[in-house]
């Protein structure tokens, strides 16, 4: 098509030039993933023997069948699901609130916009460490320190307790992820034409109505991006869980990644861990693929 418009320099077609440019990318993304994937697939069909020395023998689907009977596997799936849903909701809601506020004119807006990105630059494992000190059940935990100095409580509270450990991680994770959400929302908000709001106001639409009928539909795209990113990050993370709760109390807050980690590296069940990690890979891939398809549909419709 470009050629028919009579563009200069026909030595290289768009096609050839593009392939030339993306070769390093393809090499980088495949070189180190192909072998580990094939190896772990092979491993997942083996039985592991420890005597006389560590060796493997073909066992068909045995490990996969074992995984399905592992109560911790199902526990991990439920915890992951809970963690992912809570993280997406919290990150999107907090991010939206931040973006809508920072979209208003006020003094020092530029500085505040830069500042709110900070938690995103803090790594997930450091986020876990920091929040573990906020939740700490002794007097020096931030939440306890606040309540103690306000004299609302007289003894420190154990914050990460049975039943709420996953929520504790989700909140910390949202602290880390919400800035990214706010960033996408803010970029997206700039594209909404101001005239629409003025017109809506003249037509007598109140603030809530304007938000629901104008702002929200315009933000649909960034909402989806945020949902996908948070979903992918939350379902594959392990660091924040390790540093914040260690997966506990017991296995209360162990996501599927934690269970894979425990089975593989703590119990040294390599073949079994490989089979379980294939369930994990398939789950994450299914999430991403379905989103990819939906986004393509939405993209086509938008044009």
């Amino acid at each position: 098509m470009a050629r028919s418009r009579g563009r200069p320099s026909k030595i290289l077609s768009d096609e050839a030039f593009a392939l030339l440019l993306i070769i390093p990318l393809i090499v980088a993304s495949l070189a180190l993933t192909i072998f580990p994937l094939i190896f772990s697939l092979w491993l997942s069909f083996q039985e592991q023997y420890l005597r006389p020395e560590l060796h493997f023998g073909f066992a068909g689907l045995l490990q996969y069948a074992n995984v399905l009977q592992d109560p911790l596997f199902w526990k991990g799936i439920i915890v992951t699901f809970r963690f992912v849903v809570e993280s997406v909701l919290l990150s999107a809601l907090i991010g939206l609130g931040v973006a809508l506020t920072l979209n208003q004119p006020f003094k020092g807006r530029g500085a505040v916009r830069a500042l709110v990105l900070l938690p995103w630059a803090v790594s997930e494992f450091a986020t876990g460490i920091i929040w573990s000190y906020l939740y700490r059940g002794s007097a020096f935990g931030l939440f306890n320190a606040i309540l103690l100095s306000l004299r609302l409580i007289s003894n420190p509270i154990t914050w990460i307790s049975e039943g709420f450990a996953v929520e504790a991680i989700s909140l910390a994770f949202a602290w880390h992820m919400a800035p990214l959400a706010a960033f996408f929302f803010l970029a997206n908000l700039q594209f909404i034409p101001k005239d629409i709001y003025r017109q809506a106001r003249i037509d007598g639409a109140n603030a809530f109505r304007r938000f629901r009928s104008i702002t929200l539909p315009y933000l649909r795209y960034s909402l989806m991006i945020i949902a996908v990113l948070t979903m992918v990050y939350a379902s594959k993370t392990i660091d924040i869980v390790l540093t914040l709760t260690g997966g506990g109390p017991g296995f209360e807050s162990s996501t599927l990644t934690n269970i894979v980690y425990v089975r593989t590296f703590k119990e040294l069940k390599f073949a079994y861990g490989a089979a379980m990690s294939w369930f994990l890979i398939v789950i994450v891939m299914a999430l991403v693929t379905s989103t990819f398809v939906i986004m393509m549909r939405v993209g086509r419709k938008a044009r």
Binding site: M1, S9, D14, E15, F17, A18, L19, L21, I22, L25, I26, S29, L32, T33, F35, F39, S40, L43, T101, F106, V112, R113, L115, L117, L118, P119, A121, V122, S123, F125, A126, I129, I130, Y133, L134, A139, F140, L142, N144, A145, L148, W175, A187, Y221, S235, I238, D239, L242, V260, Y261, T264, F270, S277, L280, V284, V288, T289, M295, M296, G299
Partner: protein, 294 residues
């Protein structure tokens, strides 16, 4: 805007600042105290008698207190590892982020601006490579690196990071390149610029903010990565920050020492973020899929 709305905005802004800064401030507060004041009830919100003892200990700068408190030896081994970890992490992140942004700019341009066969397929591959949970592939990686004698090597970690970060940054840049005006490039080409010259003289200068933001993403991702750093460098002289910091954490160090280590580890990140915040906050991210996929 009326006054009531303005007051509400300022209250919300204040809340946002507290939510953002409070967790980090709390670490700073703890890091400047000794345990005696930390365990007082309630813990003070400002250090009663600020001390830099824990920072000196981590960076192994001798002080009088050091000598009296730890019986002559300066610092503890695990604490000193944090200082070394920060150095190693920066040594890895700088070359990795520069190489990654160079490669990712080219491929980002190709995906954003050129038409070619199987583009959707490549895009999907790109997306898929981003979703592999590290914990699922870490064992084969370990074996592979052991065979290649790259365990505990800073270069081995660099290779891993390039393969993680190039696709990530490409993904971010695609939409950015797609959003640049086509006319300028076309005019340059008609004026006789070759493809590479047009890239160098027209496209890349226009794309500079996006490329700087991509560089920031690349640097932070490399500096903050946990799983590979842990499995591939822990306990070696190439140990980077994440394993060092986590090691200290699980060794049950003292509260203020851990806090100081976290605050120290954040300094490079904050400096880097400050340096590039102008580009990052101004970046217009266009949706890669809906703008590119045909």
């Amino acid at each position: 805007m009326n006054n009531e709305n303005r007051t509400l905005t300022y209250i919300l802004v204040l809340l946002i600042i507290v939510w953002t800064v409070m967790p980090i401030y709390w670490m700073l507060n703890l890091s400047l105290q000794f345990e005696t004041t930390i365990f007082a009830t309630p813990t003070s919100f400002v250090p009663p008698a600020p001390t830099d003892f824990w920072y000196r200990r981590i960076l192994s700068i001798p002080t009088r207190e050091n000598i009296t408190m730890s019986g002559g030896s300066v610092g503890s081994m695990t604490a000193e590892h944090v200082g070394r970890g920060i150095r190693n992490s920066i040594l890895v992140a700088i070359p990795v982020s520069i190489a990654a942004i160079a490669v990712a700019s080219l491929s980002g341009y190709a995906f954003g601006r050129l038409k070619f066969r199987f583009k959707n397929g490549y895009l999907f591959l790109l997306l898929a490579s981003q979703t592999l949970p590290p914990v699922a592939v870490i064992l084969p990686f370990y074996i592979m690196f052991q065979t290649l004698n790259l365990l505990g090597s800073i270069y081995g970690l660099m290779i891993v990071y390039l393969s993680l970060i190039i696709p990530l940054v490409t993904w971010i840049l695609i939409g950015f390149f797609a959003g640049l005006p086509v006319e300028v490039e076309r005019a340059a080409r008609i004026d006789g610029c070759g493809r590479l010259a047009a890239l160098r003289r027209v496209i890349f200068p226009m794309a500079a903010p996006g490329i700087m933001a991509g560089w920031a993403f690349a640097f932070l991702t490399s500096y903050n990565e946990f799983m590979f750093a842990w499995i591939l460098t822990v306990g070696s002289s190439a140990e980077t920050l994440p394993p060092a910091l986590t090691g200290l954490f699980f060794m049950d160090t003292t509260v203020p020492e851990m806090s100081a280590a976290v605050i120290l580890s954040l300094i490079p990140v904050v400096l880097f973020a400050l340096l590039l915040q102008k580009y990052v906050t101004e970046l217009r991210i266009v949706d890669p899929i809906t703008t590119v996929v045909g």
